[in-house]
């Protein structure tokens, strides 16, 4: 087997050649209208927005910062401009059922006009109705009606009094009624005098009085009827006067809104209500209302019912509305009924109805963030209900949940025609799909954003134009071609792939702004590659407190990492720690011990529940590899234990399985491993090395340890060969490799790895599956065979003892 050669410096970092660009600075470039490399997502959005069918709402997914919002808003902005502005919607009073406000649809811009017209209408009535009711004409009419009643009463009483007088009898008012008494010489006849009258005269007088009393009773009984008749006449008069004032105003309004039958029908109801409640317009200076001299009760908020509550005003909307709801609570989505405190009670009416985002977006587009939508109570449920019903029903949460049963508003639902675009991450999309059957019904289109794009000449140029766009938009200095190239290199490093570029444009934009800052600090008018590097370095520096602390502890031998010498059963593994949006590599000592056993490899991390399932899988795979390769003809009589030394947190992933296998082989063969090397990579059951993530950070992590102790030229890192294309290493690592002071070895098999680590050939098996003398594999094979024999011997002895035990007490006597 040929010895694996270290990678050359050119294989460690794919440089972007600035000379491929024909511009000097980005100031010469045209701006970019779209975003880079999201053709699939764009096509999905185009389809989702274009199809006007029920349930074809969009879920736009991808990691944060890739430009989902930018693309959606840009696309919808263009699309919406070409569409007509939707109708206005207003709530008006329902004169039959006040608690059920009526919704009216009006052409765009007419809602506000109606509200103004109604304000003017009320203003007009507030002036003209009192004027009409204070006019001489009205007063004369009222006076006539009241005088007629008075005359009717006076006439009846006068006639009765006259008739009584003919019989020398007078009608008296008493404190609580009326009474008749005989009169003589202007005075009431006293009881003594009356007693002196003849019996006939007394009887006659009493009979006359009795007749008069009966007639008076009839008159008194008649009076309420006369008064009721008078009231009716006054009411009719009031109706006529009110109608004379309101009628022509209503006619004007009906002419103005003649093409809107729903509105003109409401005007008819309005007219009837004004006529029926004319007292509300007749508030005097003292706050009392008088009609026809009678005081009336009036509600101070009574005239509110003639207001118009404009829920949706598209008067100034150009095209269809595009609404982004930043805080998607249930109430912010579907609207609410607010309350005012009055005399200690909370009151509401249709004027206190407030629109939600669905009202504003109806006829257009609503954008919401999935995470916010799902974390606000009942917001998701509210949105689904509205989308299913195709209408917006304003309902308080208490009522929706049947927590209260007080009388409240039940506004007429407003029809809903909206395309909802939910923006979120992939995990939420998959969870919603799995657990909410409604989701698939309502969100049939997914737009999946790429997090990386192919690194080629075309995309390099698009990157350059993106930089130019951002520079112009944010007022940054122009970037020269070197700076652009450095940004592209950084874009590749962000995705850990020399053949790909990051589509996470927010991270790129951050670097651009920071590079502009450092160019300013250096007094330059143009951003150079050095400024971009400064931005990257400072970002790294700001996030490196923990990384440097760990390096420091390794340097101080608090964390044990050897970088020279050789040890049996000990290797430098590599892991990646993520702290916020920054990741860094760190070497970890992995050790293995072996002894005779039943073929189990104990993963100590798993035993103490610090190892994740993928890590455990890696350990099981390497166990299987050992059994398959070395224990074909005898049982695997091995017990081994593997551990990440000084690891006190969780360990997951299988990127250490190659290192674990190598240290196990070292322990079995008793061959020491070079501590100047570290390694990463996963391994399959056939001993092939598989790619892992974070290869750059891992290499840099071990490099830093070696650099801090002094580079010897022996040090290096073994990586899976399939990870070579991912290498975008730091300049100092590349330089060290170039100078032969640090090496990166790409390995494809465990045999290549063990040879590099031990300096001993791994050895290839012959036809009898025997490895060459002195090879690593031979020594492992022999050790396992030996372990198997020893174990077999122990097993035989145990069986013998069992047989002896079965012979009973006699044996015991023999033994004794």
């Amino acid at each position: 087997m040929s010895v694996v050669a270290p990678l050359s410096a050119s294989g460690l970092f794919q440089r972007c050649d600035p000379d491929q660009f024909e511009f000097d600075t980005t100031a010469e470039l045209d701006g970019l209208s779209g975003i880079i490399g999201q053709d699939r997502a764009l096509e999905a959005v185009r389809f989702g927005v274009g199809i006007r069918r029920e349930g074809y709402n969009l879920y736009v997914m991808g990691p944060p910062g890739v430009g989902k919002h930018t693309l959606i808003r840009q696309f919808l902005g263009d699309k919406a401009r070409q569409q007509p502005a939707p109708s206005d919607w207003v709530y008006v009073n329902n004169f039959d059922q006040t608690h059920r406000p009526q919704a009216l649809r009006l052409p765009s811009g007419k809602g506000h006009q109606l509200a103004k017209d109604m304000e003017h209408f009320v203003e007009e009535l507030t002036g003209s109705i009192p004027a009409a009711f204070e006019s001489d004409e009205y007063r004369t009419h009222v006076q006539n009606v009241e005088d007629e009643l008075k005359e009717q009463q006076e006439h009846a009483f006068g006639e009765l009094s006259e008739e009584a007088a003919q019989h020398q009898i007078k009608l008296f008012r008493t404190p609580s009624g009326f009474a008749f008494a005989p009169m003589r010489e202007g005075e009431v006849v006293g009881p003594e005098e009356f007693a002196k009258w003849s019996h006939e005269e007394q009887e006659k007088t009493e009979e006359i009085v009795s007749n008069l009393q009966e007639r008076l009773q009839r008159i008194i009984q008649q009076i309420p009827l006369w008064r009721r008749d008078t009231r009716e006449r006054l009411k009719k008069l009031n109706h006529e006067v009110a109608l004379s004032v309101v009628g022509h105003l209503i006619d004007e309004l009906k002419q103005r809104y003649a093409d809107l039958p729903q509105v003109t029908a409401w005007f008819d109801e309005l007219q009837q209500d004004v006529v029926d409640n004319v007292k509300d317009f007749l508030k005097s200076e003292e706050g009392e209302t008088t009609i026809g001299g009678q005081q009336q009760e009036s509600d101070p908020r009574a005239l509110h019912r003639y207001k118009v509550n404009v829920m949706v005003d598209n008067g100034r909307t150009q095209g269809a509305p595009v609404v982004y709801l930043d805080n998607p609570t249930y109430l912010n989505l579907v609207g609410r009924a607010e309350h005012v405190a009055q005399f200690g009670a909370l009151l509401t009416d249709f004027t206190l109805l407030k629109p939600g985002a669905l009202h504003e977006a109806s006829g257009g587009y609503l954008i919401v963030d999935a995470h916010k939508l799902l974390t606000h109570a009942y917001a998701w449920e509210g949105l689904k209900r509205a989308l299913y019903a195709n209408e917006i029903r304003i309902e308080s949460l208490e009522k929706m949940l049947s927590l209260v049963s007080t009388v409240s508003l039940e506004p007429e639902p407003i029809p809903l025609d909206v395309k909802v675009i939910v923006v979120g991450d992939r995990m939420l999309y998959y969870l919603l799909h799995a657990y909410d059957p409604d989701f698939a019904e309502l969100f049939k289109v997914e737009a999946d954003f790429e997090s990386e794009i192919v690194r080629n000449a075309d995309n390099n140029h698009l990157y350059a134009r993106y930089i130019a766009t951002e520079a112009k938009k944010d007022g940054l200095r122009p970037f020269d071609r070197g700076a652009v190239a450095r940004v592209i290199e950084h874009g590749a490093r962000l995705v850990e792939d020399s053949e790909r570029l990051s589509a996470h444009m927010r991270s790129i934009a951050d670097v651009l702004r920071e590079a502009d800052y450092w160019a300013g600090e250096a007094g330059r008018d143009i951003v150079t590659a050095g400024d971009v590097q400064a931005a990257v370095d400072h970002q790294l520096f700001r996030a490196s407190r923990v990384r440097e602390r760990i390096q420091d502890e390794i340097q101080r031998n608090t964390i044990y990492i050897d970088t020279d010498g050789a040890r049996v059963g000990q290797i430098n593994g590599l892991s990646v720690l993520s702290m916020g949006n920054h990741s860094f590599g760190q070497p970890s000592r992995i050790t293995a011990t072996v002894h005779i056993g039943e073929g189990h490899v104990v993963d100590i991390e798993r035993e103490v529940e610090l190892g994740g399932p993928i890590h455990s899988k890696g350990v099981l795979i390497l166990s299987s590899f050992i059994a398959a390769r070395y224990a074909q003809d005898h049982p695997l009589s091995l017990s081994a234990s593997l551990v990440f030394e000084q690891s006190y947190g969780g360990v997951d992933g299988d990127s250490a399985s190659l290192a674990e296998l190598c240290t196990l082989l070292s322990a079995l063969a008793g061959i020491p491993i070079r501590q100047s090397l570290a390694m990463t990579g996963s391994v399959n059951q056939h001993g092939q090395v598989q790619p892992i993530g974070g290869v750059n950070e891992k290499i840099e992590g071990f490099f830093e340890v070696c650099r801090n102790r002094g580079l010897t030229g022996d040090q290096g890192v073994l990586i899976p060969a399939s990870n070579v294309k991912h290498l975008m290493l730091r300049a100092d690592v590349v330089t060290a490799a170039e100078q032969g002071r640090f090496h990166i070895y790409p390995v494809e098999t465990v045999d290549q790895a063990i040879e590099l680590l031990t300096g001993v050939p791994a050895g290839q098996p012959d036809a009898q599956w025997q490895y060459p003398e002195g090879s690593v594999n031979r020594q492992v094979q022999e050790r396992l065979t030996e372990m198997s024999l020893v174990r077999q011997t122990f097993a035989d002895q145990a069986k013998e003892r069992e047989k002896d035990d079965d012979k009973g007490p006699g044996v015991k006597l023999d033994e004794s």
Binding site: P175, A181, E187, V188, P191, Q213, Q217
Partner: protein
Amino acid sequence: MSPEQEQPGPVSRRILLALDWGRDPLALETAFRLADVLSASVQALFVEDADLLRLSRLPFAQEIGLGSAVLRRMGAARLERELRLRAAELEHLLARRAGRVHWSFETVQGALPAAALNTAADLYIFSRRASGWPAAPPPPHSAVVAVFDGSEAALRALATAMALADGGPLLVLSSAAADARAASLPLTSGRRVPVSYRMLPALTSEDIAEAVRQAHAGVLVLGESAAGTAADIARLLELSGVPLILVR
């Protein structure tokens, strides 16, 4: 101790407020307003109608309820009790309204307005006379009607009416012989009183009452010469339906 004795001080003029069982807050208010303006005392005289008392003692005396039209026995004891209660109620009202005005309250039996006119006073206020079906009280700020017959008392009546109107509408009724406009000119100078004048062929009770009704007046003011006899005053009260102020 009477309220008059409680509040000592020189009292030069006296207003006699003649009351019967009817409730007339306007007459009561008018009396105290004038007392303030004229620095006068108020002598309230509650007159228990002798005719009513006699009526109640008749063996067949019966009363028809005002609202119910129910016929019921009318006993003297009940009537007397009702009159006493009404007198007490009125006295209580007077006490509440009086403020710093000197006042007294007395109950007598007799007939209005004769019973009141027997008592010496500078000015008499007769409450609305309750007869026939009860009419609604005049609305607030109704016009004041003054009768001017050219006499000295009429001049005083005009001045009193002017004070009562207090910026409100004032209608002056006069006969052809009296120049009310000229007489009232000195009284109105410097005041913003909307005065209107109406000439009547004769100052009869019927004509005056008709003018009062047409003007929807709240009170009628006249001098003793225009008032005539007690019977004329009674007639005028009955026809006009408003409180009457008689100025001597």
